[in-house]
């Protein structure tokens, strides 16, 4: 519920953004700043850790140094942050971890859509569309990023288990568009590709589409040459592509909800409220973790059918 429209009782909120060079995280940052302004929250100016753990660590130090009593972060390296979390726990400063689930160290609440779910959703969609035959290229993110790894593992397991007929070419891309394009081109020269799962639309969408365009492989689903593409993120560009029939689906990673509930739980923490596992008032479930709780937000699969849905964050931005 919108309990804390006035700032929670105990002190400032410290916020750290994980990076500023991706569409998803920029949208997230926009939402956060928006909400902070709208709700007149008592938050410090957000810091940016540029995807570097030790920058995050020092940022947290700075934020607490400036009197932050609760911290909202999105540690991209879920292990490396462990000792920092312990320190914060020692200082009785609750931590809300957005998008990633720290492997170790106390967290007040993890706010994320289950990345394994992304992988599975994509797998099921492709599996059914291709009815268990053909070749699928998977643009893995970076194996050193836990989200990338979760998605890869989930996708891989699901394919192996449910769709043994499909051959998966998992390509490491270090989240780089040109690498992905190169790998895809290689894959195409090695035979027909029937499906593509890209783990980050922001990075892979344009290169993929423009390559397929060039190879005249952007054809309607009715055409046998059609390549089924599932993306991930739910940025406006992906929706546009879906509407244009260039790709078939994307998993909408709810940037807006991340921001909203990240801040929400921060306020609750400051207000001293505690939560228990179970369904929430906003259509998600809280589950128990060894080192805290996790509110698993819904991550809808967007296809041509529901791409118009105004509830989707991707349809909000740029408006």
């Amino acid at each position: 519920g919108r309990s804390g429209s006035k700032s929670g009782s105990g002190g400032k909120i410290g916020i750290d953004f994980p990076r500023s060079d991706s569409d998803f995280w920029n949208s997230y940052a926009k939402y956060v700043n928006q909400d902070v302004k709208d709700q007149k929250l008592d938050a410090l100016t957000p810091t940016n850790s540029n995807n570097k753990t030790d920058v995050l660590v020092s940022n947290v130090a700075t934020l607490t140094g400036q009197g932050a009593k609760a911290v909202v972060m999105a540690p991209q390296d879920t292990g490396a942050i462990a000792s920092t979390l312990e320190d914060l726990a020692g200082k009785k400063i609750p931590v809300i971890s957005v998008d990633t689930r720290p492997d170790k160290g106390q967290v007040y609440m993890v706010v994320r859509a289950d990345n394994r779910a992304y992988g599975e959703k994509a797998c099921k969609f492709l599996g059914d569309k291709l009815n268990n035959t053909g070749t699928v290229v998977e643009f893995e993110g970076d194996l050193t990023s836990v989200n990338g790894r979760d998605r890869s593992e989930a996708f891989g397991d699901c394919m192996a288990k449910s769709y043994p007929g499909i051959k998966v070419l998992a390509e490491a891309t270090e989240w780089k568009g040109d690498v992905a394009a190169a790998k895809l081109q290689d894959a195409l020269t090695q035979g027909t590709v029937n499906g593509i799962y890209m783990q980050a639309g922001g990075v892979f969408l344009a290169p993929t589409v423009s390559l397929l365009q060039q190879k005249n492989l952007l054809v309607p689903p009715t055409d046998p040459k059609h390549i089924f593409i599932v993306s991930n993120d739910g940025i406006p560009a992906e929706f546009a592509a879906i509407k244009a029939g260039q790709i078939d689906a994307t998993v909408s990673q709810p940037a807006d909800l991340y921001a909203k509930y990240g801040l929400y739980y921060a306020q609750q923490a400051l207000a001293g409220k505690t939560f228990t596992p179970g369904p929430t008032d906003h259509g998600s479930t809280i589950i128990q973790l060894p080192n805290g709780l996790e509110d698993q937000l819904p991550a809808p699969l967007v296809t041509a059918d529901n791409v118009g849905d105004p509830a989707l964050w991707g349809n909000q931005v740029g408006k």
Binding site: S20, D23, K183, G202, V209, L211
Partner: protein
């Protein structure tokens, strides 16, 4: 009188034994230095051929060429700068900055998610892009040559600053809406070859010709080899370096343009990490980090080798987990092979 004979005799007698060995061998080794990667490349191609029937196909090689265009243009730039005895790390950021600024200026003020200033017509995008490149090069030149700052750190600082500037401008988002002029090179073929490949080849041809057969090109080698001597020989060292830095950055801007065209988008993350590849390719290709040695052709083979390695590994279906490791291994092996085919110690 007889002294004269004395001298001439002496003259005949002495130097006789000096030149022999080195003199004859040299051109040979020079040749080798330039082509020292070819055996390694042959080896890779052989491996690829064994791996998969799809490897040794026109398509595949076309694909490789196309995917190498941007990197080769960057390598061309860095090679020129290294031969001149300098280095420029900021190329990596110029790659993304130039197109983004161009788009920012040119794109209409509304309608897209990323709104520009609607300044100037769409066709101006490319000229602006190149101008931005030139500007960056000029600034580097000023800081290094006029203010006598350390070139490495200057360009390193620029690397950070310019990359940051991109994010300031586009808020880190990816720009998907490109003017047709950008898309063109990435999407059209001339005589069956992608336009970008032609252009890139042309640029190298020009570069090789300039450095091989023209005074001002040769001057670069002299400057890289010994600036003081070059100055004494009447070469305008500073000016030449400055020009080369500008050309280099313009090439980087052009590479950025090719990227944007091929990937159908421009974003801050596009160039990141490239500069390492650039140096790897250039130096593997036999261009000396100490200036004055190496050839553009060699640098080109450097690019193609790296690309071949990746390609061979992909065709070898090396698991995503192991690919980086093998990439490193193969680079080292290629290095060793070229070392022993060129016979000369590397510098």
């Amino acid at each position: 009188m007889s002294e004269v004979t004395t001298m001439s005799d002496a003259a005949e007698l002495l130097p006789a034994n000096h030149p022999e060995s080195p003199a004859r061998r040299r051109p040979g080794t020079r040749w080798l230095r330039e082509f020292s990667l070819l055996p390694a490349m042959a080896l890779l191609i052989l491996i690829g051929f064994i791996e998969s029937p799809d490897f040794l196909t026109g398509d595949n090689f076309l694909a490789m060429l196309q995917q190498s265009t941007e990197l080769s243009v960057l390598v061309l730039a860095e090679a020129l700068i290294l031969i001149g005895g300098r280095m420029d790390l900021s190329l990596e950021s110029t790659v993304t900055l130039a197109p983004v600024i161009a788009l920012w200026l040119v794109l209409p003020t509304s309608g897209n998610r990323f709104n520009g200033l609607g300044f100037g017509a769409a066709w101006m995008a490319i000229p602006i892009c190149l101008l931005v490149g030139a500007a960056v090069g000029a600034v580097n030149g000023f800081l290094i040559l006029k203010m006598n700052l350390n070139g490495f750190v200057v360009t390193l600082g620029m690397l950070t600053m310019l990359h940051g500037l991109v994010i300031v401008i586009d808020g880190g988002q990816t720009v998907f809406t490109l003017p047709p002029s950008f898309a063109y090179l990435g999407h059209h073929d001339w005589l069956g070859l992608p336009a970008s490949v032609w252009v890139c080849g042309l640029l190298f041809a020009i570069g090789i010709a300039a450095l091989g057969w023209f005074r001002h090109g040769r001057a670069l080698y002299a400057i890289g080899g010994n600036p003081a001597a070059a100055r004494a020989a009447g070469i305008r060292v500073e000016r030449t370096i400055w020009i080369v830095l500008i050309i280099g950055s313009m090439l980087a801007a052009f590479a950025g343009l090719l990227y944007a065209g091929r990937l159908g988008s421009a974003s801050a993350s596009q160039g990141t990490g490239k500069i390492f590849e650039v140096f790897a390719a250039t130096v593997i290709g036999g261009v000396s980090m100490n200036g004055g040695r190496g050839s553009l052709f060699g640098a080109l083979t450097g690019v193609l080798t790296l690309r071949l390695i990746e390609n061979v590994l992909t065709f070898g279906h090396v698991s995503a987990q192991d690919i980086e490791f093998f990439n490193g291994v193969v680079i080292l092996v290629a290095l060793i092979v070229s070392r022993y085919t060129s016979g000369a110690a590397q510098d």
